[in-house]
């Protein structure tokens, strides 16, 4: 019994880190472009499908791990130009356009890749003993990849000129423009980065989830909950909330079932909205 709790808690941590990566993409896009990107889960789904497709085509998961986020970045640049920019600063309209984008992505994948769910063999086989249970090595590797990507992204935001510009545009696009920062291009790059992060999350998750055109539908609400609980615009909060929620859902699932776990998550989110509308971690990094 306690083994099950532990295993599901660790699973939650692994998933939490992957979802943190995806939710962080959602969060930077929201913070910079004021866009509620309903298609973000589908960009994750495209990442899982792309990960499987590239692995099958080239025989190398590791190539997919590098290539798919790069392709995701390019896809993000195109989508921002064609879909997002025409409706920018009209938050309500972006829900409609990204919802349309979501359907197009799903149907495009169904039309080309097919509707049947598939599974992908993990690139690293085997288990290791972890706190007295046998645990998949790949899941640990997946958590590690996600954590590295998260750390890399925060370093990029803090330490590079482009990262500094992204933070500046987020805070005050007008003054940034007057200082010579190409705000429209920064917005495009940010959307592309968010897309690349969702795609990377997709590749990392592909071996531990089912790969199909609907995967994004399940992940999106979870990402939104993480963003809300972490506090809108609080990037570190988003990461912490994603991990916290996933571990909590894992533990609740072990004593009950996934539906109850989701209900608990929603209750937590409602509580946060009621009592701490700026997020669980407001004040820490605002």
């Amino acid at each position: 019994m306690s083994d099950v709790v532990l295993a599901l808690a660790i699973n939650g941590l692994v998933w939490g880190l992957i979802i943190a990566l995806i939710a962080l993409g959602l969060s930077i896009i929201f913070g910079l472009l004021d866009i509620i990107n309903v298609a973000h889960g589908d960009l994750f789904m495209v990442g899982t499908v792309g990960g499987l497709a590239v692995t099958v085509a080239t025989g190398s998961f590791w190539l997919a791990l590098v290539l798919v986020p790069v392709l995701g970045f390019v896809l993000g640049l195109v989508l921002e130009r064609v879909v997002i920019r025409p409706t920018i600063r009209q938050a309500a309209l972006t829900i409609v356009t990204t919802f349309g984008l979501s359907m197009m992505l799903q149907e495009a994948v169904r039309a080309t890749y097919g509707a049947q769910p598939r599974r992908m063999a993990p690139p690293i086989e085997g288990t290791v003993p972890l706190f007295g249970i046998d645990y998949d090595v790949y899941r640990i590797a997946a958590a590690l990849f996600a954590a590295l990507a998260l750390a890399g992204f925060f370093l990029f935001l803090q330490r590079t000129k482009l990262g500094t510009w992204i933070r500046a545009v987020r805070h005050d696009p007008e003054t940034a423009t007057a200082l010579g920062i190409p705000v429209a291009r920064i917005c495009g790059i940010t959307f592309a980065l968010g897309t690349a992060m969702a795609a990377l999350g997709g590749v990392i998750a592909a071996p531990i989830t089912t790969v199909e055109f609907r995967t994004g539908v399940d992940i999106l609400p979870f990402c939104f909950m993480a963003v809300v609980i972490g506090g809108l615009g609080n990037l570190q909060g988003t990461v912490a909330a994603a991990v916290l929620l996933a571990v909590m859902e894992g533990v609740v699932t072990s004593v009950s079932d996934p539906t109850v776990a989701r209900i608990v998550s929603l209750a937590v989110m409602s509580g946060v909205l009621l009592f701490r509308p700026h997020g669980l971690f407001a004040g820490a990094t605002r």
Binding site: T177, A178, G180
Partner: protein
């Protein structure tokens, strides 16, 4: 050097600029005065393309700014210190300072600025939001200077600043002008404006209604009272 003719602009559906014409010559200091809400800030924003122009023309050093993307103006030498300073509070002082530069600043200019503003040097690694209001204003001005502008537009640089620091900011602006940089300053503080400026425009309801030298304005206090509502 800067020439604005018949500039019009709307905010929402409301026309806030109804044909503003002003000019600034090289090295000249020009003040734009007027009561609250007459369109001073809007004038600066429309010149910079931050507020969409609906009519009129803006040219800088002979170049028409009509078709130019707003973020290109900084590279032409147009500096801007917005109302409320426009500091990025979560970025470090140094990141704020270098924000408009592509890479690292030229070492000599950097050293010179830090020598001139020792408070900024001391706190270069701290978040700019921890600076006092006056220090933030100095930072905003230094951030402008590091880009070597030929014209600086300042929007109410002494607004909400401790009296002690107001004179320092005034001295800084005078020093900028002395180095041959043209200045277009929006100011509520009439004394500061008249002391700094070579020429003054008075605005009312989206239009320039009067142009004079500070000396001429001092001769006609009733004009000042009529447009600014204050006594000299």
């Amino acid at each position: 050097m800067l020439s604005v003719a018949g500039l019009t602009a709307d905010i929402g559906r409301i026309p806030v600029l109804k044909g503003v014409s002003i000019s600034v010559a090289p090295g000249e200091t020009v003040a734009l005065l007027g009561r609250n809400g007459v369109g001073k800030t809007s004038t600066l924003r429309a010149v910079l393309g931050l507020l969409r122009r609906t009519g009129g023309s803006v040219s800088y050093q002979g170049q028409d700014l009509g078709g130019l993307a707003p973020h290109r103006l900084a590279a032409l030498g147009l500096g801007y210190v917005p109302q409320g300073r426009g500091i990025f509070p979560l970025l470090t002082v140094e990141d704020n300072l270098c924000l408009g530069l592509k890479g690292k600043p030229p070492a000599d200019l950097f050293a010179e600025l830090y020598e001139r503003f020792p408070r900024l040097a001391e706190r270069r690694r701290q978040a700019a939001g921890t600076l006092s209001g006056g220090e933030q204003q100095i930072l905003a001005i230094a951030r402008c200077l590091i880009m070597r502008p030929s014209l600086i537009m300042l929007d109410e640089p002494t607004e909400g600043i401790m009296p002690k620091l107001v004179s320092q900011i005034r001295t800084e602006i005078a020093a900028i002008a002395k180095r041959g940089i043209a200045v277009l300053i929006v100011e509520q503080n009439l004394r500061t404006a008249l002391r700094l400026a070579d020429r003054v425009y008075l605005m009312e309801r989206g239009q320039v209604v009067h142009e004079a030298t500070p000396a001429a304005l001092r001769e006609t206090p009733d004009t000042v009272h009529r447009y600014l509502g204050v006594a000299l």
